[in-house]
């Protein structure tokens, strides 16, 4: 693969990461959000795969395949399995911040991410480090979603977006963190999603819904 092809394919993957994050903000339908997460996971996994093909490094190919399996297939499916097929349930209700404002905030966050990330991450082992601010943008958008979404599963989606962003920084600026850390971190995320899914199910049984505003028994 020539340097030019590699650079444009990495840029494409980074563009998909950012686009899917913006679409998650735009769509309040959770089924759509899980599909977008799958796209995002595939784009994320493509980055080490491309680097692996370019450097003829089998290790990176394995890492990329694992990332795709987990983030494009397993994680989104775990969230989707907790949806109930009822449009009233599988949707973020009246949002804290409306869609137009959310998109505006997202645009500001992306700009901030480029200002911040661009100055911090200098040229890494490959040209892909230029795209690292996309990871910062995903992190900021994830934090924003976590703060403004009230559906239990929306918060899981936000946490996953945040986590994808961190992984994106690691893969774009370097070749990812050491395997033992990547493995442990993925396992922890996997278990956290399972736990939050079980809790969302119990919440549905006990409260008849998964709106976090129903959680108001414990306070001072």
């Amino acid at each position: 693969m020539s340097a030019g092809t590699y650079a444009s394919l990495v840029d494409l993957a980074a563009g998909l990461l950012l686009l899917s994050a913006v679409l998650v903000v735009w769509r309040r339908d959770l089924r759509a959000a899980t599909r977008l997460l799958a796209v995002q996971g595939a784009a994320l996994g493509a980055i080490p795969v491309l680097a692996g093909i370019r450097a003829r490094d089998a290790h990176l190919l394995v890492v990329g395949a694992a990332v795709i399996a987990l983030r494009a297939v397993v994680f989104p499916r775990l969230v989707a399995a907790r949806l109930r097929g009822a449009p009233s349930h599988d949707r973020e209700g009246a949002p804290v911040v409306n869609t137009a404002t959310s998109l505006l905030v997202t645009a500001l966050l992306v700009t901030a991410a480029y200002a911040l990330g661009g100055s911090l991450v200098h040229a890494g082992p490959s040209s892909s480090a230029r795209a690292a601010p996309v990871g910062f943008a995903l992190v900021l958008v994830g934090v924003f979603l976590l703060a403004t979404r009230r559906h239990a599963l929306s918060q899981v989606v936000a946490l996953l977006l945040l986590d994808n962003g961190i992984d994106a920084v690691a893969f774009l600026a370097s070749h990812g963190v050491p395997p033992v850390v990547e493995l442990g971190a993925s396992l922890d995320v996997l278990l956290a999603i399972v736990i939050l899914g079980v809790l969302a199910g119990r919440m549905h049984e006990k409260f008849g819904g998964t709106d976090l505003d129903d959680l108001r028994e414990l306070h001072e």
């Binding site: 100055s119 911090l120 991450v121 200098h122 890494g124 082992p125 992190v139 934090v143 976590l146 239990a152 918060q155 946490l159 945040l162 986590d163 961190i166 920084v169 690691a170 600026a173 370097s174 070749h175 963190v177 050491p178 033992v180 850390v181 442990g184 971190a185 396992l187 922890d188 278990l191 956290a192 736990i195 939050l196 809790l199 119990r202 919440m203 006990k206 409260f207 976090l212 959680l215 108001r216 028994e217 414990l218 001072e220």
Partner: protein, 490 residues
């Protein structure tokens, strides 16, 4: 025993006990293996600490490494873990008698407690910052269903908040770890060693300051979440209030301080890379804010378990302020407070849990006048509270004096004064609420309550150890000094 075994056993023994809890059909074998695993952790901690008096490294490979601070923390985890598993046997027995906890739930409870213990020992023993992170996150994973063990509406609410807030905090810390890894590889450290704590502090000066500053900030905020530090402290009181008492004892007694030790390690790294100012300012600000929040919620508290939770928050705030100074005396004081507060809090939570079981409430006004109905439990509660507010001869007193002197040495007199004022107000409200619980006018006629054998064992052991630590803390001096050195004391 060989060094490698001593280092591996504190993680391996609880994992083995967790397996036993899942597969063994006999309840007695499950309880016994749980207590035995905690005792094994304690024994390893003592052996490591004894072999570690001068700060010698016992074992050093890339995954696990022992310094004096790790040896000290393994001992504390083992001691409080033992108290909590003994109390857990009593908890499961009383819950089983009411048929509230079926066998399947009991197994899960026992297995998760052991996984929780293993995660905590791993997070103090791991030599790789990435593995430390994985272990800290594993403490959240393993305690989620423990907090929600009772399956009530409020415990579900507490669990949700706990998992989401801690996952978020710990994700921030992971971002910090990743950025630090980038800074290290950019500085030419080989990727395999780029998260090794020893390598990082040896080459700290070469790290890019801007990137490291962001990484350290994220790690302090993220690991600080698990230590209960502001701004992500809101999970703490809910989780501690709703969890079964022995789990609250573990979370409040050791989990918070395990996370705090990670914060101290990050601080020592930050000092080496960025100079002392950055982490100091951060810790001062969050520590004082945590103290302020905790004390203001202590004053008007109506629930005994939440009172204990906010008192833990108060202690963590104090320890963060003390950590800001970074002096040897202050760090030795921090470690002494970690041990003494952990023991006192474990004792208090277990007693409060027993009272909750007997009286069906944790409301301070409903519990009023416990001294006449449950003299033994009231005695334990009183002893625990006296130890907790830092009165001599208990060990907390010595720890707080060391912190005060250490901070004065570091010219942080203003912060020290602010912290002391808040501490006095906090202790005052602890005492006044404690007096209400013990001697207040009873809201209703209650039956007499006797302490269960498990609680009696925990209470007597806890008070004895606290007294011994306070009166003859001398033998600990070497260990504390070595531990402070390994945490980068100046």
């Amino acid at each position: 025993m060989s060094g490698a075994l001593l280092v591996t056993l504190p993680v391996a023994a609880p994992v083995a006990a967790a397996v036993v809890a899942v597969v063994a059909p006999w309840p007695r074998a499950r309880s016994a293996s749980g207590v035995a695993a905690s005792l094994a952790v304690l024994a390893c901690g003592v052996a490591l600490a004894a072999g570690n008096e001068v700060g010698r490294t016992v074992a050093d490979d890339h995954l696990l490494r022992v310094d004096a601070a790790a040896a000290f923390m393994v001992t504390v985890i083992g001691a409080i873990g033992t108290l909590a598993t003994v109390a857990g046997v009593g908890y499961l027995r009383t819950e089983g008698a009411r048929d509230a906890t079926a066998t399947r739930d009991a197994r899960r409870y026992e297995a998760l407690v052991q996984v929780f213990l293993a995660a905590m020992t791993l997070s103090v023993l791991a030599g790789n910052l990435g593995v430390v992170w994985v272990a800290i996150e594993a403490t959240t994973i393993s305690t989620a269903f423990l907090v929600g063990h009772r399956r009530t509406r409020s415990s579900l609410e507490a669990t949700w908040k706990y998992v989401v807030i801690c996952s978020f905090g710990i994700t921030l810390a992971f971002f910090g770890v990743v950025l630090l890894y980038l800074a290290a590889t950019q500085a030419g450290i080989p990727p395999a060693q780029a998260l090794d704590l020893g390598t990082l502090s040896a080459h700290a000066a070469r790290l890019d300051p801007a990137l490291t500053r962001l990484a350290v900030g994220l790690m302090l905020a993220g690991f600080g979440t698990k230590a209960g530090l502001v701004p992500f402290h809101t999970w703490l009181a809910d989780a501690h209030g709703q969890a079964p008492a022995p789990v609250s004892a573990l979370m409040s007694g050791v989990l918070l301080s395990v996370a705090l030790v990670v914060v101290l390690r990050v601080r020592s790294l930050a000092d080496a890379a960025l100079g002392p100012g950055f982490a100091r300012d951060w810790l001062l600000a969050t520590g004082l804010a945590t103290l302020l929040v905790a004390v203001s919620l202590l004053v008007a508290q109506r629930d005994l378990k939440r009172l204990l939770a906010y008192s833990s928050l108060e202690q963590m705030g104090l320890l963060a302020v003390a950590a800001a100074s970074g002096t040897r005396l202050a760090i030795e004081g921090i470690l002494l407070v970690v041990a003494a507060h952990g023991l006192a809090k474990a004792l208090l939570f277990v007693t409060a849990g027993e009272l909750q079981h007997a009286e069906g409430t944790t409301s301070i006004s409903d519990l009023a006048g416990v001294a006449s109905r449950a003299p033994a439990l009231a005695g334990a509660l009183a002893a625990g509270l006296v130890a907790l507010v830092g009165l001599p001869p208990f060990a907390l007193f010595a720890g707080e004096i060391a912190i005060a002197r250490g901070m004065a040495d570091a010219h942080l007199a203003t912060a020290l004064a602010a912290a002391l004022v808040l501490l006095v107000v906090g202790s005052g409200s602890l005492v006044s609420h404690g007096v209400t619980v013990l001697f207040g006018r009873p809201a209703r006629e209650g039956r007499r309550v006797r302490a269960s054998p498990a609680t009696a064992v925990v209470a007597v052991t806890g008070v004895t150890v606290l007294l011994v630590l306070g009166v003859v803390g001398g033998p600990l001096a070497h260990l504390l000094a070595a531990a402070a050195t390994s945490l980068g004391a100046r």
